[in-house]
């Protein structure tokens, strides 16, 4: 509440004229429980989510004759209060959005502050979207909204007849939130297998300094009904895939540059998309450092079709390849875990609505023919009224190996239920 009050006070400072029109607050209260049925070494055997959440959001449009009004400025605020029973009722506040967007010129928008950033064409798959994500929320069954973490950033968008461009400056490289053994078990190479609370590795984040700013650039335009985009990203891998100090069990986020492109448009009676990216690992230029992630090529193609009757179906194929695999394998030591050169991944999404779209069923399947693992996530949601919504879902990662993406999560299967009241 203190934060909300502070936010409101801040807006008061920004826009004194606001008092004429009080801010309208919206949001929701949600209770969520995710039970598990596979024992492992995490903090609680029986469940991996038990929490109550209050989200408050507001926005304000400046329409006065002052500079903010002339720039058609908008202020957006969204914050979550969380009581997390998984960690003994720990309370938390997460500021998800607090930003101001302005149009200082006809051809330009500027958004400054904490904001969620997304681009690219994949469905739960990301190549050129190197913005931070929360895979813990993803696997325990929180709303999709929580897959994306906000960034503290300055975003300039330019719109011209020839093309449009986004330039994003991120002042703090926020890493992904990944399973760490507390809530979800995962593969920890230091423990030589799937680990829970016994995991004791250290993740060393990039320091908060100018040379660690991240830059993301996108050029995009329409070609008739098709959308083309080029992307450049210069920053850090958001997952700690490289070793800083093996003896001290320290991992770090190696530098990463991504150059990519995508196209999306009508195709065979549906929507098709193709995206690729060259992921350069500048700290392992020759690919012969066994401790640092290799450079990679990533590509995907997707297709979605509306079959009628509120039924949609989508497929994606994703491919990645380590580019200096020979150098990598030659550098490996005898007891090192090693990863394959190629990875293939298929996904399928089926969405169907019932009862005037008040009941939604969504089934999403990942399957990797190269890793022989997969992940099924499905849910049924019911909008009982405009205020009350009930969601029931499952997360089922599976596989035989210990260290592939989904197989390492195989003890994290859960069934969750969420009850939400929106206001």
């Amino acid at each position: 509440m203190i934060w909300a009050a502070a936010g409101a006070a801040l807006i008061g400072v920004f826009a004194p004229g606001l008092r004429a029109e009080p801010l309208r607050w919206h949001g929701f209260f949600e209770y969520a429980f995710g039970g598990r049925w596979v024992e492992d070494q995490t903090k609680h055997d029986r469940y991996n989510m038990l929490e109550q959440r209050l989200q408050l959001k507001t926005d304000y449009f400046f329409s006065g004759g002052d500079i903010l009004g002339r720039w058609k400025s908008q202020f957006v605020f969204k914050g979550d209060f969380l009581v997390d029973e998984y960690f003994g009722g720990k309370t938390d506040f997460a500021l998800r959005e607090a930003n101001m967007v302005m149009s200082p010129a006809d051809f330009m928008d500027v958004r400054v502050g904490r904001q969620v950033l997304t681009w690219g064409t994949g469905d739960y798959l990301f190549i050129n979207d190197a913005f931070p994500k929360d895979y813990v929320s993803f696997y325990i069954g929180r709303d999709d909204e929580y897959l994306k973490k906000p960034s503290d950033a300055l975003r300039f968008s330019f719109y011209t007849d020839a093309a449009n461009a986004d330039f994003v400056l991120i002042t703090h490289a926020e890493p992904n939130t990944l399973p760490d053994g507390q809530r979800l078990s995962f593969f920890d190479s230091f423990q030589r297998g799937v680990a829970g609370t016994n995991s004791d590795r250290m993740l060393v984040e990039p320091g908060w300094q100018a040379e660690n700013f991240e830059y993301a650039l996108r050029f995009f335009r329409n070609f008739g009904s098709n959308e083309g985009a080029l992307y450049v990203f210069r920053g850090f891998d958001k997952s700690p895939r490289s070793y800083l100090n093996e003896a001290a069990r320290e991992l770090f986020y190696e530098r990463q540059d991504i150059f990519g492109a995508s196209i999306r448009g009508p195709f065979a009676g549906g929507i098709g998309n193709v995206e690729f990216g060259y992921v350069h690992s500048p700290q392992d230029d020759h690919g012969d450092n066994r401790l640092i992630e290799n450079s990679m090529l990533k590509a995907m193609a997707g297709y979605e079709k509306d079959l009628g009757g509120d039924l949609k179906i989508g497929f994606q194929y994703y491919y990645e390849q380590k580019l200096d695999y020979e150098g990598y394998t030659e550098a490996l030591l005898p007891l090192d875990y090693f990863w394959d050169e190629y990875r293939h991944l298929l996904t399928n999404r089926i969405t169907k609505f019932f009862k005037n779209q008040t009941v939604a069923v969504s089934l999403f399947t990942f399957f990797s023919p190269s890793d022989l693992d997969g992940y099924f996530r499905g849910y049924v949601s019911y909008d009982m009224t405009d205020q009350w919504k009930l969601t029931w879902g499952v997360n089922i990662p599976w596989g035989g190996d210990t260290h592939t993406e989904f197989a390492q999560m195989r003890r994290d299967k859960n069934v969750y239920v969420r009850v939400r009241y929106s206001f």
Partner: protein, 265 residues
């Protein structure tokens, strides 16, 4: 024929006036074309705040409140729409854009503000529910005139009755629909849909019309699903025509930064 419906609804925005019939009754094609023109091509653009109340068989009500912007592109058929949701609050800020291409699939984009995600929507089924109401997407974005054959089936001293039969029955759930079009104004006042067994199962009505800036405008409409006993009432207010919308409003830029000067609730 036509998009009667669409007209009706989609364009609550656009309904126009006053095309008087010259001597004698026009043919079905002429009636349909005039109604279409009146419904779509009056004013270069328009906006409205739309409040839809869905009532189900148990009498439970749900509400959808949105702002709709519309712009005609070129001489006729092409149009662009921008829809911004104000309520229910869990979808507040969601916006979508439709580029309507008569005779082809529309282009649709949906913006989910919580994820900052611009999704491309596969939209080949235009006869699915619009936002969970009893209106269909096609009621909004229109049904191509050439998709149906139109015949004058009767009427009374105030309305023409037109029977519209789809040329390709496989793509729609009705076998035909009958529209009633006002003889003076050419405004469609009712459309009734019959299923494959010839049973009436769906009705759309213009409940209230007002003249706004010289354009006769439907300001209240009702869509009823007779099988499910549910209905939706749509009320259009803040209707304004010729507001000077620019084409770039209907682009990704304004999904991320809604044009509140036009769509304030």
């Amino acid at each position: 024929m036509k998009k009667v419906l669409c007209i009706v609804f989609g364009c609550g925005l656009l309904l126009g006036t006053a095309v008087r019939v010259e001597a004698g009754d026009p043919t079905a094609e002429e009636i349909v074309r005039k109604a279409n023109r009146i419904a779509y091509y009056q004013g270069k653009d328009g906006r409205a705040r739309v409040e839809m109340t869905v009532t189900d068989a148990q009498g439970r009500a749900r509400q959808r409140v949105m702002s709709i912007l519309r712009l005609d592109i070129g001489d006729d058929a092409e149009q662009k729409y921008y829809v911004y949701f104000h309520r229910p609050t869990d979808v507040k800020g969601m916006a979508y854009i439709v580029w309507k291409h008569p005779g082809l699939d529309d282009d649709r984009w949906l913006y989910l503000p919580a994820l900052d995600l611009v999704r491309r929507i596969a939209a080949s089924d235009k006869r699915s529910s619009f936002a969970g109401t009893n209106f269909l997407y096609e009621d909004i974005s229109g049904r191509g005139l050439a998709l149906d054959t139109h015949e004058l089936a009767g009427g009374d001293d105030k309305t023409y009755e037109i029977k519209n039969t789809p040329k390709d029955k496989g793509t729609v759930e009705f076998s035909y629909y009958v529209t009633r079009i006002n003889k003076d104004s050419f405004v469609p006042v009712m459309a009734e849909y019959y299923d494959k067994n010839g049973k009436l199962y769906r009705r759309m009505e213009a409940v209230e019309t007002k003249e706004i800036q010289g354009y006769l405008t439907i300001t209240k409409m009702k869509a009823t699903d007779l099988n499910a006993s549910s209905s939706t009432i749509a009320i259009f207010d803040n209707v304004e025509y010729d507001i000077g919308l620019e084409e770039d409003v209907f682009s990704e830029r304004y999904l991320r930064k809604p044009p509140f000067q036009w769509i304030k609730d």
